[in-house]
Each structure stands twice: as structure tokens, then as C-alpha cells.
């Protein structure tokens, strides 16, 4: 048990036997979630993010490792004994109960006094802007309203942790952003721990205090959205999150946290985020398009890497301009704010050493 964490998975694996051998839906997953944290499990389908959530909820029992909630081991406890509630992707509202009865369900199961249930449901309906809808059936509500009922139901008995399984995926794109903000506000207000499963990196970056990026059942990297975006720990994470330029090269020398890498005959300085690479190793460098400076600012800046290039194409994407620039080390994608863009054909390019990340192959 790690001190202070509200949810702690210790080397948890979930294995399914198949005809072709064992399949690890989750492999050696270790995460610790702090109280009051908005923690996201981010990955594509089959990455193990939902399995991990289900291991916390108690819907799956792991073959290896242990699950701890609130300092107590719950590895083999059934869901109804765990002080965590889930908001399901499909909302899973009980169709034969009214909205108010749905929200009251956890209290009724816990044999709370009738008068108290009525009061708390009333308060909850108000808080989730469901006033006057208590007597309706879930099928008579819109998607957004159903989602609020699901949230209200999961939160009414004040669990330690709220698990959310892609709660926005069934909503229209238009209201998704609105609900996203509401979720964030709700989490801040209630100061509850949220564990949020999503495949949408933008959602994860916007909402989370910390993100665990998952792939093939394994955790690839854990960090704040800024760490994940700026300092990806692996090629997979760098490719999965946002857009980036990737350059192949070999290590020439390393000085502390930086390394010189030869790319197409040029010496490029890059930041080392992980283990220090050995000289002669093949590596990949990553530069985000918006971190590349162009034109006069590039020349005057005290930048570590400078080169020149020719603009091959310009794409206008509203707020941003996307340029393809041919340089001696290959074609680079560069984005600039359209309000301050420089349209000259011949360009100087530069970037800080900290914006060029060395990723081991």
C-alpha cells in the first residue's frame, strides 16, 4: 500500500486464456491515484484502459497483483462492497424506474431513511439541473440529461472514487465540450477522485491532473498533460498524443541532459528525457510543429538548433497556418498563428534544445 493514495494498483494483470494462448488484457499495471485527483486512463480500443477501470470497480478479478482502495486491499471484493461508483458508457439507467428512483437507488439499497432519501434526491436533482424531471422515465430524457442522471446516481451516496467509462462518447459533438467543462467543475466542487477512461487525447489533456497512457494492456507513461505532451517518454506516446515531426539519427555525444544527434549529416541537439543513450545508438527525435520558430525571430533567438529551409506548401486551417518546409534534414511540418505568420519562401528555422526530444528506439 502506497501512503496517501486513494486507489492503488500494484502490478495488476488480467489474463484471458484463448485457444492461441494467454492474452493479457492488462499487464503489470501499476498506478496510484491521489485523493481529489482527476486521473485519466488514455488509450485506443484494446489498450487495456477499460479493463483497468473494471479491475478497480470489481467487475474483473486480476490474476496477478493487488488492488487497493482507501488503504484497504479489495482485490477479490465484489463491486457492491467497494466504495467506488461507475458512470457507464451506456449510462445503464434502470428503465423501469423514474429519474428520481434511479438516483435514489444506492440510498435505498443502503436502507437510508425515507425522509433523508427524499431530501437528498431533491437536492441532487437541483444540483444536476434535473428539476421537475424526477417523475420521468430515463427514455423520455435527452442524452445529456441521461448522463446527468447517471452522474447524480453515482454520486448520491458520496463514494470515495468515481469511475467514468467514456462518459462523453454517446453525446453529440456540440454538447460534448459543454459537458466536459461541467465534469471538470463538478470534480473541483466535490473534490472527489475521478478516474476517467477515454480514447480522446484532447479530452484527457483538457480535463486531467494526471494521465496514464496505455497501449497493449500496459502503461506507457504517467504524467501531467504537459509532461505527456512536451516530454513523451516513448515513440508510442509521442505519436499517440498530438502532431509531431520525427527525425531518425544516431547519437554522437551526450552532455548531461542533452545529446548531440547526427541527422542527415547535421548535428542536432536534443533533450534526453529517459535513460542516457549510448554513443552510436539509433534514436528518433521529436519536434512539435508549433515549437519550431520561423523567420527573423528564429535568427535573433538564442536557439540551440538553427537551419534554413524552403517552404513547399502552405495550408490555412483557420487560427493556424500549417507549412511544409524542406530542410537539409528532411521535410518539417511547422504551424504558426495565422495572425502573425511570415510568408517568405526562404525561411530560417530554429528551436530550443528542450523542445527537441530524444526518444530511444
Amino acid at each position: 500500500m502506497r501512503d496517501g493514495s486513494v486507489v492503488y494498483l500494484d502490478g495488476v494483470s488480467k489474463v484471458y486464456p484463448t485457444a492461441a494462448g494467454e492474452i493479457f488484457a492488462a499487464r503489470n499495471v501499476t498506478i496510484d491515484v491521489q485523493p481529489g485527483e482527476f486521473y485519466s486512463l488514455l488509450g485506443s480500443s484494446g489498450s487495456g484502459k477499460t479493463t483497468t477501470l473494471r479491475l478497480i470497480g470489481g467487475f474483473e478479478i486480476p490474476e496477478y497483483g493487488s488492488v487497493w482502495i482507501g488503504g484497504e486491499e479489495v482485490t477479490e471484493q465484489p463491486p457492491y462492497q467497494r466504495d467506488v461508483h461507475t458512470v457507464f458508457q451506456s449510462y445503464a439507467l434502470f428503465p423501469h424506474l423514474t429519474v428520481a428512483e434511479n438516483i435514489a437507488y444506492p440510498l435505498r439499497i443502503a436502507k437510508t431513511a425515507r425522509a433523508e432519501i427524499a431530501g437528498r434526491v431533491e437536492e441532487s436533482l437541483r444540483m444536476f439541473q434535473l428539476g421537475g424531471m424526477g417523475d420521468r422515465r430515463p427514455s423520455q430524457l435527452s442524452g445529456g440529461q441521461q448522463q446527468r442522471v447517471a452522474l447524480a446516481r453515482a454520486l448520491i451516496s458520496r463514494p470515495k472514487v468515481l469511475l467514468l467509462d467514456e462518459p462523453l462518447s454517446a453525446l453529440d459533438a456540440k454538447i460534448r465540450e459543454e459537458v466536459r467543462q461541467e465534469l471538470r467543475d463538478l470534480q473541483k466542487q466535490t473534490n472527489l477522485t475521478f478516474i476517467y477512461v477515454t480514447h480522446d487525447q484532447e479530452e484527457a489533456l483538457a480535463l486531467s491532473d494526471r494521465i496514464a497512457v496505455m497501449h497493449n494492456g500496459q502503461v506507457q507513461q504517467i504524467g501531467t498533460p504537459k509532461q505527456i505532451y512536451d516530454r513523451p517518454g516513448s515513440l508510442f506516446v509521442a505519436q499517440f498524443i498530438g502532431k509531431a515531426n520525427f527525425l531518425k539519427g544516431t547519437v554522437l555525444e551526450t552532455i548531461g541532459e542533452t545529446a548531440a544527434v547526427e541527422v542527415s549529416g547535421m548535428k542536432i541537439w536534443a533533450a534526453v528525457t529517459g535513460r542516457s543513450p549510448s554513443i552510436g545508438n539509433a534514436v528518433t527525435l521529436m519536434i512539435r510543429p508549433e515549437r519550431v520558430r520561423l523567420g527573423e525571430t528564429a535568427k535573433t533567438a538564442k536557439a540551440d538548433n538553427q537551419l534554413s529551409g524552403k517552404v513547399a506548401s502552405v495550408t490555412y486551417v483557420g487560427q493556424l497556418i500549417e507549412l511544409k518546409v524542406e530542410t537539409p534534414i528532411g521535410s518539417l511540418t511547422v504551424t504558426q498563428l495565422s495572425s502573425t505568420a511570415d510568408f517568405s519562401l526562404e525561411q530560417s528555422l530554429s528551436w530550443n534544445v528542450n523542445d527537441c526530444i530524444l526518444l530511444p528506439d
Binding site: 470497480g57 470489481g58 457492491y80 461508483h85 461507475t86 445503464a92
Partner: protein, 288 residues
């Protein structure tokens, strides 16, 4: 009862008359002469329902024999039926048998439906087929088999053996609608209930049962009507006590009076009621 006949009629016309004809004829055959379709429909319905209508008719006929012509209207046969002790007794027997057989059939049908829905086990398909066998096999086979089985067990024939026999073929009847409904049950509802603190018993009572309630009711009503008018299996398994269909059948061999027609009309009325009820419950806007 009415609906399947209608669809049968429609598909019959389409498959046998439409395609061998030239298209220009087929297209307008009934549109140009709708009375043709009307006559055809009336004939089919007459074939199906005239015997029953005749029976009802005869039950009000003021004549001592079970036949036409109509000699006058009377409630006499209904009064006699009401006063007939052995008929009343057999009706009471039938109701008891049907009720007990329905409880057994629905109870075990529910358990079997759950086993099939919830678990993967060796021989699952054979298990399903075995459960459905009693309605696929001729009643004579089921009857003889159970008679042989009960006598080798040393069980004395009584209403209880009839109840067991009826429960056996009532089980697949009740199982069908329950299993169908159960397979539509969204698994996430069950998980949500567990997640919110409900124990297995509470999950069943509060979430699963309300979802399959209509199927249980319509399945058990069907099992009830089947048991209520069952003759063949009953012949083999009954002891000294008669069920109503057995009583009717027994009387037909000795004295044929319109009293039988009156009884039959009452039974028809009751079972039509139950079947309609079962259809209505089954077709109710299901909650989900």
C-alpha cells in the same frame, strides 16, 4: 390466435398465386377485384371457426341431442352444467392441476432460462434441446414414458402424477418467452446495480425481475392454458380423479347432450380470455 392465421393467408397468396402469373395480371388481381380477396378470406375463416360457432350455437339450442336444427333458445344446458356435481369437481381438479403445473413449469423454466443465459457449460445445446423435447414429442410418447417411469418408481397415479406430466411439457412453454426476454437484458444494468451496492438477491429482485416480469406472466399463462385442456398425457397419468377435458371426453362416449356444448363454450371463453391476457401482457410496452 388470429394473427398467425392472417399472416399464413397472406404468404399463401403471395407464394402460390402471385409468381406463376404474368406480372401485369398479378399486380392488379386483387386491386381490381377486391371482392375476390374478401370471399377467399371469408372461406378460410369459415373453415377455421364455423365448427366452434356451431358448438356455441348448439349450447343454446332447446333440443335434447347434440345437433341442429335450432329448435329454440334456452339457458337450460348452462343451468344443468352449473348443477352438475361431477363436472364442477372435474373443473376444480383441472384448475388445481393447471395451477400447480404452471407454478412448477414457470419456476423450473425460470431457473433453466437463467442457467442458459448466465453460464457456459458442457452439453449446453443438448440441455436446451432436451428441455424442449416434451413439446416436440407426440403426447402419446411422453404419456407412455412417464407412465412406465412412475410405475417403476412405485408412484400411485393421482392428480400429482398429472401435475408432474403437465409441468414437464409446460416447462419449455414457459422457458421460451423468459429466455428470449432475458437475452435482451442489457448486462450493464446488472453491473450498475452491483456497482451501486446491490447484492445478488437485490439485483435480481430490483433490476432483472422487473425486466422479465411480462415474459414470466405471459409464459405462465400459456403453460396454464395448455395444461387446462390437455387430454393425451392426462389419459396415461390420471388416477381416479378426472380433469375437465377428461370428463368431457368420457361423457361424449356415453351420452351426448348439449350440456357438453355448454361446458365447451365456457372453457373456450375462459381460455380465449387467458390467451388474450397473455398476448396483452407479452405485448405490453416493455420497460426497456
Amino acid at each position: 390466435m388470429l394473427v398467425p392465421q392472417k399472416t399464413l393467408l397472406k404468404s399463401h397468396i403471395l407464394s402460390h398465386y402471385r409468381f406463376p402469373m404474368p406480372l401485369y395480371l398479378a399486380k392488379n388481381r386483387y386491386a381490381q377485384r377486391p371482392w375476390l380477396l374478401a370471399i377467399w378470406t371469408i372461406l378460410v375463416y369459415a373453415f377455421l371457426y364455423l365448427p366452434i360457432a356451431t358448438l356455441i350455437f348448439i349450447s343454446f339450442n332447446d333440443s335434447a341431442i347434440l345437433s341442429l336444427p335450432f329448435k329454440g333458445f334456452t339457458f337450460n344446458w348452462y343451468e344443468m352444467t352449473w348443477g352438475d356435481r361431477s363436472l364442477r369437481l372435474s373443473l376444480w381438479n383441472s384448475l388445481q392441476v393447471a395451477a400447480m403445473a404452471t407454478i412448477l413449469a414457470t419456476g423450473f423454466g425460470l431457473l433453466a432460462a437463467f442457467a442458459i443465459y448466465r453460464y457456459q457449460f458442457w452439453g449446453k445445446n443438448s440441455f436446451r434441446i432436451a428441455l424442449n423435447l416434451p413439446i416436440l414429442l407426440p403426447g402419446v410418447v411422453t404419456g407412455v414414458a412417464m407412465l412406465a417411469y412412475f410405475s417403476s418408481l412405485g408412484l400411485e397415479l393421482s392428480l400429482w402424477t398429472v401435475i408432474l406430466g403437465h409441468a414437464i411439457f409446460g416447462l419449455p412453454v414457459a422457458l421460451g418467452p423468459i429466455l428470449t426476454r432475458l437475452t435482451q437484458f442489457p448486462h450493464s444494468l446488472e453491473e450498475a446495480a452491483y456497482d451501486l451496492g446491490a447484492k445478488p438477491g437485490q439485483v435480481f429482485r430490483g433490476v432483472i425481475f422487473p425486466y422479465i416480469r411480462s415474459a414470466i406472466v405471459s409464459g405462465s399463462l400459456l403453460a396454464f392454458t395448455l395444461s387446462f385442456d390437455e387430454v393425451i398425457v392426462t389419459i396415461f397419468l390420471t388416477g381416479r380423479d378426472n380433469t375437465l377435458p377428461m370428463e368431457i371426453w368420457g361423457r361424449l362416449r356415453t351420452d351426448i347432450t348439449p350440456e357438453i356444448a355448454a361446458v365447451a363454450t365456457l372453457v373456450l371463453l375462459a381460455s380465449t380470455g387467458v390467451v388474450l391476457l397473455s398476448q396483452w401482457v407479452g405485448g405490453m410496452r416493455d420497460e426497456g
